[in-house]
Symmetry: C2
């Protein structure tokens, strides 16, 4: 499993992903699920992936080949040349579907789920910042005023705190703190989501990375948030009024 999160706010965007992959509980590795495509000032695109690692790696490899090709022939569209994030999402979708076309039958025979889901966001100069969720079937949706974030992978444990805290006017670092709490809740309930956590923050209209950080399990800030959030939850719970019911 994996947990990936993209948040789109007035002030910019936040991307966070864990790095745990497993092929069964006895085969656990660390892989970054975040890829960055950047030409500072002109475009910044962040791609988060969850699902079958072979599928996501093959998809990303195809996208990287396109970039190489577009440099050589100056005409192949790629994540580094398309004029909109919508077109970028289309490229990911096409690459993902072409991987399925090659692998789906064999995976089905082997009883393996080859599905992959992607979150893609960022900003290309001339456009506003945009954020898309690309489903396993390759269709995709865009975030909006009422849907400020997309999650992929193991999403439920960490959703309640996001629902309660994140608003479009939320400050970028404040929302990052909330995202960290969301990851902490997820990791507490599902061992297949684990640090290090990759973090990227993009300020609106800069078209470049404002912060890139890998949060290790020993990161002092992460440890403090984890501890204080646990303490805060227990305190919030302790302050609730006692149930008024009498046991017979």
């Amino acid at each position: 499993m994996t947990y990936c999160l993209g948040i789109s706010l007035d002030a910019g965007q936040i991307f966070m992903s864990d790095t745990r992959t497993n092929a069964g509980i006895d085969h656990v590795s660390t892989f970054s699920k975040m890829r960055i495509f950047e030409k500072p000032g002109e475009r910044i695109i962040v791609l988060l992936s969850t699902g079958n690692l072979a599928t996501t790696q093959a998809t990303v490899t195809l996208l990287e080949e396109q970039i190489q090709l577009s440099v050589e022939d100056q005409k192949t569209p790629s994540l580094m040349t398309v004029s909109s994030l919508f077109r970028a999402a289309r490229l990911v979708s096409e690459a993902q579907r072409s991987v399925y076309r090659i692998d789906a039958a064999a995976l089905k025979d082997a009883g393996i789920d080859g599905n992959a889901t992607f979150i893609i966001g960022g900003q290309i100069a001339g456009e506003r910042p945009r954020l898309f969720l690309i489903y396993a079937a390759g269709n995709f949706i865009e975030s909006g005023e009422d849907t400020l974030f997309f999650q992929a992978g193991e999403l439920k444990y960490g959703k309640p705190v996001l629902d309660r805290v994140v608003a479009s006017s939320t400050d970028l670092l404040e929302a990052t703190k909330c995202a960290l709490v969301s990851f902490d809740s997820t990791m507490k309930s599902n061992v297949s989501v684990a640090p290090p956590i990759d973090l990227v923050i993009i300020k609106r209209d800069t078209c470049r990375i404002s912060l890139r950080h890998r949060i290790l399990e020993t990161d002092p800030y992460f440890l403090e948030v984890r501890k204080r959030w646990g303490d805060g939850l227990r305190a919030a719970f302790a302050s609730l009024p006692a149930a008024p019911w009498r046991l017979g």
Copy 2:
């Protein structure tokens, strides 16, 4: 969807279930998912069901027919006669499987998921209190020292608070409060889980219901817990230290 929860503590057991059922988002009804089989002082059994409503209703009907039959012939085993909760779980499993045998092929043809999952617990005189989770396939597991509660249905949103608060020494009403918070978190993130919430509390070694209560959406205690928990979470979040990172 549904959310059902059974908790087994040193002091006794708590059962909670919502009442929302839906066949598609445009067909929503209220059904209790909690059945109680009680002979006060001798046995108390609580059965919670989630999944396909036709399957769970048919399963329960078979169990009720067994009870009727056991009264008449004095030999058919039923939930009111078996000597252990383990045997009771077996009866549920058998009834569930016999419903599948009749319906599974037709449901598969119609592309409908007929699966049902059950939580069964309580106490039969001569035994300790016991709690079982019966999977859709009819196999089942029992709670223990390290697994104090079972959830079924829409379980993830409401699990973090249980993980953090419930210990085997937790007081029954305190754990009930925690269960209520767990339901609140679930209902906040999934509209297909909704009040009224059915609650039963059983004190250890009484073999009878200690409290039975239907918590309505307008229940003042529920509303206060909901509001104060939301406030408490926001306060806990606000008290977290600011992220130490600088945006470039």
